[in-house]
Point group: C2
Chain length 191, copies 2
């Protein structure tokens, strides 16, 4: 689809205790014109660095996260010939085995959907202001996605509109731009 | 998973008029150890080269196709760290919008599942003895996957065990090896 045409995107950040309805998003991208649907499910896994994980908890600055997700969709469309894109991300606790983020993309030919699906989930992890707390059997910690830390700002600028993201307790700071550093600064001094 | 350990694979070729149960295969690969599930749906689309498609019809030499699919799973496991792989392919007529082939792969980290999913569907298209008849509003034709025609034999040999596949009317010819050229030779002279 050419830029500027109607883009069939569904971007949703779900409130606490709302599981992701996989079929809803897969059906959204389904089209008789498309030979391909690629999907990605990001699930809570039971261990991290050898520690037993009980659940993950997600927080987001929702308006900015939605803007970033839409921007990622536009970037993907600029690089691949895509029909529809659906992205859903949960907030709040997500138990082991449950899906916290889901991406579904359809295209006429399979390479477009497959490559775009990988791009979209990589960009979500690297640049969308959604923070993850890992709750272990013996404690909990806010986690930074390793790929955000590894991404150099100049790479981010060339691929999507979102800047590195920072969540700070003063929300005015984050309202001034789309996406900034993903570092979440807490007041409790525990980090 | 290391080669030689128990490999959790589900490979199925479905008889005519058996739709693919997406949830069954997705659930098969689901594991609390895995942070990622990547899937690919190959669907019948409504047009090809500007012609209106009514349905696709698939035929396979099933024992050889199963062997080839299992070989592709083993190849994928040799290249990526994968938990479970599910592959399902329908036979017979598949109407526009329906899924003819589905791949689901789980892994601890997402890059493994995503990259392996693309590899597996590419290999299925290129080397598994499943033939596709496109039924148009004004006729029908057996189709060759373009990537099979483009693949040089030496590439196939280095990536999977399957050789280029040939289906000929004399089945003895195909029983002598795993996978050969994908060209289907018909007796009716229409090609």
């Amino acid at each position: 689809m050419m830029a500027g045409e109607h883009e069939k995107n569904l971007v949703e950040i779900l409130e606490e205790n709302h599981p992701i309805d996989i079929n809803k998003y897969t059906n959204f991208v389904h089209s008789p014109q498309c030979g391909a649907i690629a999907t990605f499910h990001g699930n809570t896994r039971d261990t991290f660095d050898g520690k037993t994980v009980i659940e993950l908890r997600y927080e987001a600055y929702v308006p900015m996260a939605i803007r970033c997700l839409k921007s990622i969709c536009s970037s993907a469309r600029s690089m691949w010939d895509l029909n529809a894109i659906a992205v859903a991300h949960r907030l709040g606790p997500v138990s082991v085995g449950e899906t916290s983020v889901f991406v579904a993309i359809s295209s006429v030919h399979r390479a477009d959907a497959l490559d775009a699906c990988k791009f979209v989930i990589d960009e979500i992890k690297a640049s969308v202001p959604i923070w993850k707390k890992e709750v272990y059997s013996n404690g909990e910690v806010w986690k930074e996605n390793i790929e955000f830390l590894e991404r150099r700002p100049e790479i981010g600028k060339t691929r999507v509109c979102c800047k590195p993201k920072v969540k700070v307790q003063d929300d005015e700071a984050v309202k001034s731009s789309c996406c900034r550093s993903k570092t979440k600064v807490e007041d409790d001094g525990s980090m």
